[in-house]
């Protein structure tokens, strides 16, 4: 056997440490098909169950500080352009208007709703939470607005112009859904 073939065999033996995650999904789909064989309409065309699955761990890059402050300190941070002074929220490390660097700056928990919508139908992942409002909220001391959940508190719709305040989850993971806004009464 060639040396390179031997090495390949060796790797083959230790590469896969556990059952691939995809196979869990395959099992679930196969159960569904057994219960409902009509999905294969081979009279007219042949149709097969399938999926495209990818798993990730991705980096927030230079935006990470925002999520660290959010998670550890329940604080909202924006970024101020060192040259033109725009306060970005959500923050970005570079200013897209003048190409200068920005610096971190805390922003107010209080803000104004720029516009919003109430979601009644959406993907399966979020369906059990409907209806919910999402809208762009500009903190009182920032120049731009960020998309966020706004607590409907029994209303059908959140009007643009409403004053809101940030509320933080007790247990935070470092994602944008660690906080939301509520109407300031």
């Amino acid at each position: 056997m060639r040396e390179s073939t031997k090495k390949a065999k060796e790797v083959l033996g230790r590469e896969l440490k556990s059952r691939p995650l995809e196979s869990l999904i395959d099992d679930m789909i196969l159960k569904k098909i057994t219960g409902n064989p009509s999905v294969l309409e081979s009279e007219k065309y042949f149709e097969v169950p399938d999926k495209m699955v990818m798993f990730y761990k991705y980096s927030y890059g230079q935006q990470s500080r925002f999520f660290k402050e959010l998670k550890d300190n329940a604080a909202l941070y924006g970024a101020r352009c060192r040259k033109c002074g725009i306060v970005y929220f959500p923050p970005r490390a570079q200013c897209s208007e003048c190409y200068s660097d920005t610096e971190w700056t805390p922003v107010s928990n209080e803000g104004v709703v720029v516009s919003s919508t109430t979601v009644w139908y959406t993907t399966s992942e979020f369906f059990d939470r409907t209806p919910y409002a999402v809208g762009y909220v500009r903190p009182t001391d920032a120049n731009t607005a960020m998309l966020q959940r706004i607590d409907l508190k029994g209303r059908e719709f959140i009007e643009p112009g409403e004053k809101v305040i940030a509320v933080f989850k007790r247990e935070r993971f470092g994602t944008v859904s660690d906080f939301w806004y509520e109407i300031k009464e």
């Binding site: 979601v119 399966s124 809208g135």
Partner: protein
């Protein structure tokens, strides 16, 4: 930018010389995406009366790899169409994919790189299937939702509808546009589709029907929203020299193209930034800019008077109202009144979306913009059958938009000899 007049004087114009399509349907399980593309291409080549071998290059408009369940689907279509040996590229710009694919093909021909080019817009959608729910729609929505920014917006549970609904809410607040006015767009476009044998949703409905359909994302209701569609639409374009050489009798000239993309982080749009003169979150600012550019190239100064017919991208009924304003068909903030007065209706002074638009004809995303340009081409050359509009000024407009908060926009102006 060279003006249309300048191009005309130089003999440097580009014309649409053939259109072809498949029927637009919710799902076409009997055909793959390359089979759909083939059928539309065959029809377009027959309409243009040219052989496949005469095509110099192809531009593919295909929106979403997750719809097709295929990364790089264009390369397989290129093979299936027998276009191997020739250059083929793909454009993917959300809902504006078709319009931008046309722009790329135009550039190909206008630059002299190709004499004859083919624009292939195609989309599958409803092969997406949520096995847990036993339904198609949630999975279709998911494949679109993945285009939301993964860090700042996706985790909040957004959708294509919510992304455009915030623009509509802002428009309602700023200008007093009503849900009833938006419903009129839906009534009009579903009705127009009755004259389009290729349309997915021809329907005679009322404002009440729209108003009482269930809310998807306020203020959008089900009948305010276009559905997911499968289908293909193909255009053949060629340069002026070839038009003369072949002796095309009814070339439809490209008179103007204008394109502009706004900030995709919609909350960053402000009245003091570089697009600020066109407005804020309530206004489709890049649509204003794209239209302005297209009109400048075409030499049009009063679109309300000079445009005979338009196809606007009504993914949602409210968006068409916002587009009336951006296209200069009416004053800013008066889009609701424009549809209410009937100007945009089939018998009106400036009929909009005789094909039925996305609401009526369907939204086969990559094919949509190509279809709407093809519809205007057929209107201009009097091949629109039962839905033919009277062409007085020899100008038609097609509008193609997409992306988060309608960040992509391209506008095409066509005219005959």
């Amino acid at each position: 930018m060279k003006s249309y007049l300048q191009l005309k004087n130089e003999g440097g114009r580009v014309a649409i010389v053939g259109t072809g399509q498949t029927k637009f349907e919710a799902r076409i399980p009997g055909m793959t995406y390359y089979e759909l593309a083939f059928q539309a291409a065959k029809n377009a080549l027959a309409d243009a009366n040219i052989e496949p071998g005469m095509i110099d290059s192809v531009v593919y408009g295909i929106y979403n790899d997750l719809f097709e369940r295929q990364i790089m689907p264009d390369t397989y279509i290129h093979d299936y169409l027998g276009m191997y040996g020739k250059p083929g590229t793909r454009i993917t710009t959300g809902g504006a994919t078709g319009g931008y694919a046309f722009r790329a093909a135009y550039a190909d021909v206008a630059s002299g790189l190709s004499d004859i080019a083919m624009v292939v817009g195609v989309e599958k959608a409803q092969d997406c299937y949520d096995w847990a729910q036993g339904k198609t729609t949630p999975e279709v929505l998911k494949s679109i939702a993945y285009s939301a920014d993964m860090t700042w917006e996706f985790p909040l549970g957004v959708s294509a509808a919510s992304s455009y609904a915030v623009l509509a809410s802002a428009h309602m607040k700023k200008y007093g546009t009503t849900e009833e006015q938006a419903a009129m767009v839906s009534v009009k476009n579903h009705g127009n589709a009755l004259n389009n044998p290729f349309a997915q949703s021809p329907m005679r409905i009322t404002v009440d029907d729209v108003m009482s359909s269930r809310i998807i994302s306020y203020p959008f209701k089900l009948l305010d929203s276009s559905l997911y569609t499968e289908g293909a639409y193909v255009l053949i374009i060629m340069n002026e020299k070839k038009v003369r050489e072949i002796g095309v009798k009814d070339p439809v000239w490209v008179k103007g193209i204008g394109s502009s993309n706004d900030k995709s982080f919609t909350g960053l749009r402000s009245s003091i930034d570089k697009l600020g003169k066109f407005g804020d979150i309530a206004d489709l600012r890049n649509h204003y800019k794209a239209a302005e550019e297209a009109y400048r190239m075409a030499g049009i100064s009063n679109p309300r008077k000079e445009i005979d017919v338009a196809e606007l991208h009504d993914a949602f009924s409210f968006t068409e109202i916002q587009a009336y304003e951006a296209m200069g068909f009416c004053e800013r903030g008066k889009g609701g009144l424009f549809v209410e007065e009937g100007t945009a209706s089939m018998g009106g002074d400036l009929p909009v979306s005789p094909s039925g638009g996305l609401l009526g004809a369907g939204h086969a995303v990559g094919a949509t913009g190509v279809m709407q340009i093809g519809e205007i081409a057929n209107q201009i050359r009097h091949k629109a059958g039962r839905r033919q509009i009277e062409i007085r000024n020899n100008n038609g407009l097609a509008h193609s938009i997409g992306g988060p908060g309608s960040s992509y926009c391209t506008v095409t102006i066509l005219g005959g000899n």
